[in-house]
Symmetry: C2
Subunit: 435 residues, 2 copies
């Protein structure tokens, strides 16, 4: 081990690890040992992992140390357990898949490994990443509270400092909501800019790989590895036009989030940004329902084989496969049509602003582990297929984090990352500085 | 073995097998032995399979015979080798995946097995089902000609009588074109009404599971097993309004297909149908390019990990991953927008007709095995995500088959199946009857 101690608070970001391992000042094995030590200390309380084999982690680290260094050399990754891994089981929190070996890596894992990343373990998910029924994972900031879901374990593992990067998925609000609840960075890239191959399927239209980190700079590194499109990266908040979007589901927010949005607007104005109210056109009023119809129509297809082959499967999957809501072809076509129209309309709306600012969750992480919270703030942006970056830094009355989402047009993830990065930095400064 | 000999021409349809096995007049093992015998006779010339283990086929058949009978009991299925199977390797015609064991079945295979079907073997595909470079498979009707692709082996196996059902995929014209070239029934269901989980990913927007059979009634059986939406099923051609659609790519058709379309119209009119010319609105003129841009944008995502991890991979995949066409975000958004608009426009167009009739291929199967033919006639309907059923029955000047496609609105596959079924029956009657 080198002299510099590894702690969650400082050097365990992906950027720091990769720089050190590349420079030879730290080995991947040292990083792995540090992550394993933190995990050993925190995991009994947090319960982020479904599967973690220290010997396998060390073997991966040794292989990284023996190979030419990639841009993510030594970076540890918590992999949501609906994402296939060739050397660890992929259980999907379903009795049918307990211990299931897929033989191949998901495309995203394949790409991360090629860049030198180390898969730390399989992180807890709700069943098939498709329910609000909580898993065993506790919020590292307050173990009485949910970490959110369905990417519960990945978010908690990153928040607790066990892994530098978390892989999640989002179909409703499964990446961005846990980012908010755990006080970390969350990124839902533009739909289908990172391959979904090897992720459990629920909705082809909405499912998106999601990412967690404790430093927004880590996302820049990932954007390079995954070859995201180039886009303008503003280097100052001054003069930026930021559209504060309350969305048609604003009534679902709690006072804590309304206060946080006001506070965020005040801070960004103090930084010289122009924060304007952005009202979505009327057509967006139907989008939450369209998202729900699309999930119903696509979930019917996705879970047919699971329902036929899993005796005792939870009734919510049976209801999907049986189309118990009786979604008609006409309703499905109309829902797709509305989502398509809103995507085009958003492109128009966004011509007036550089970025949209909107809540990452309804409020602070709720008490209890039974349910993972409300995805209302996220599902619109998911079905719109736009990039969303959730910035931490603000706190609610219970002392729990409140994330603010930054949204841009499809394929301009790098713009959202740049603006969210500067905003998050401003949010994290002592309040007195802006009061 | 029962006294009735099994031959491709009569009793090896899925419907006949399932009825016999259900009634107890034939065992699944007898069916399997018959299919293996036909395969042994035909495979040396046709080369439809990448992997076929007779012992595994017999073991599946014995298990089917020992279990309660499902609706597909004993039905043999050729599985395209980009579709995951838990008990056979999934090689994708890629050196990287030679012998690869996925551990889990694709969702469609899972559902078929649950209904009693037997997976006969893994059928030849072009690499990743994403190229026009031919595989080893020969057209069973003329071994000098391509069977089409990328679902080459599945189509040839069904045409040669080795399997009753073939599983293919379609991203451009990979299911419907081979159906035409091999003189069998082909069905590309409405996008995402049968799960794509476990199929190699190229384009989320276009990839669709495709199906082959030698009797359209087999598709009705499959529609039930996969729980496709109900839709009107006309029981006579008389009075049906059929829109003859030449599409904006009509100039790619050969004289043989133009003649076949005229002949088809004449036959259907003789049956009492009203065949009218259907011109697509001007907006459809850009759809072929939009399909190409969408494949470029989505292929870039899909093949990134393969390119990074497969030394010597064919340059066409490198070109995709590198976005060598330099498709911009604005072009991608515009292509999606145009495809969305055409989907909505087609719903309007189709209010005037019961079904669209259009070519399944440019002409007869070309000579040679290097290339699998031209997908121009299919890609429009693929990106429109509508159901397409290709009916055999007509022949070209070289004596090779020419398929006619029947297209309806999304989720009305059963209408397309019913109309195509009656049309195919009419096409197959001696010409003198209508001349």
């Amino acid at each position: 081990m080198s002299d510099a101690p590894l702690t969650p608070a400082d050097c365990l970001t992906a950027s720091a690890i990769a720089a050190d391992v590349m420079a030879g000042t730290r080995s991947a094995l040292e990083v792995a040992e540090a992550c394993l030590a933190i995990t050993a200390a925190r995991e009994p309380e947090v319960q982020a992992f479904e599967y973690l084999d220290p010997a396998l982690v060390r073997a991966q680290a040794r292989a990284v140390d023996a190979a030419p260094k990639g841009p993510l050399a030594g970076v540890t990754v918590a992999v949501k357990d609906v994402i296939a891994t060739k050397d660890m089981p992929t259980g999907q929190n379903s009795p049918r898949y307990a211990g299931c070996q897929t033989g191949v890596d998901a495309a995203c894992v394949d790409t991360l490994r090629q860049a030198g990343a180390i898969m730390l373990g399989k992180a807890v998910t709700t069943e098939f990443a498709a329910t609000n029924r909580g898993g065993k994972t506790r919020n590292p900031l307050d173990p009485r509270r949910t970490p959110g879901g369905s990417s519960s374990g990945s978010a908690a593992a990153v928040a607790a400092g066990m892994a530098s990067i978390g892989l999640g998925t989002q179909t409703g609000g499964s990446t961005i909501r846990p980012a908010s609840f755990n006080g970390i960075w969350g990124w839902k890239p533009t739909w289908n800019t990172i391959s979904r191959e090897g992720l459990k399927l629920y909705s082809l239209t909405c499912d998106t790989l999601g990412l967690y980190a404790r430093d927004v700079a880590d996302f820049d590194l990932l954007a390079d590895v995954f070859d995201l499109d180039d886009a303008p990266r503003p280097d100052t908040l001054r003069g930026l036009r930021i559209g504060l979007c309350r969305t048609p589901v604003w009534d679902r927010t709690e006072p804590s989030m309304r206060d946080a949005m006001e506070q965020a607007a005040m801070i960004l104005r103090a930084e010289g940004a122009e924060v304007i109210t952005l009202d979505l056109p009327e057509i967006f009023n139907g989008l939450k329902d369209a998202h729900s119809v699309i999930l119903g129509r696509e979930g019917r297809t996705a879970f047919l084989n699971e329902v036929r082959n899993t005796p005792g499967i939870h009734d919510e999957f049976v209801a999907l496969a049986e189309n118990r809501r009786q979604i008609t072809p006409a309703e499905a076509r109309a829902a797709y049509g509305l989502a398509d129209a809103c995507r085009a309309a958003l492109d128009d709306v966004m011509r007036g602003v550089d970025v949209i600012m909107t809540p990452s969750a309804c409020g602070e992480a709720p008490m209890g582990l039974e349910l993972t919270g409300d995805a209302s703030m996220n599902s619109l942006w998911t079905v719109l297929q736009v990039p969303v970056v959730s910035a931490p830094g603000l706190l609610g009355p219970a002392g729990m984090p409140l994330g603010i989402s930054f949204v841009t047009r499809r394929y301009t993830d790098r713009t959202a990352l740049a603006v969210a990065g500067m905003a998050g930095e401003a949010f994290s400064r002592p309040l007195a500085a802006v009061a």
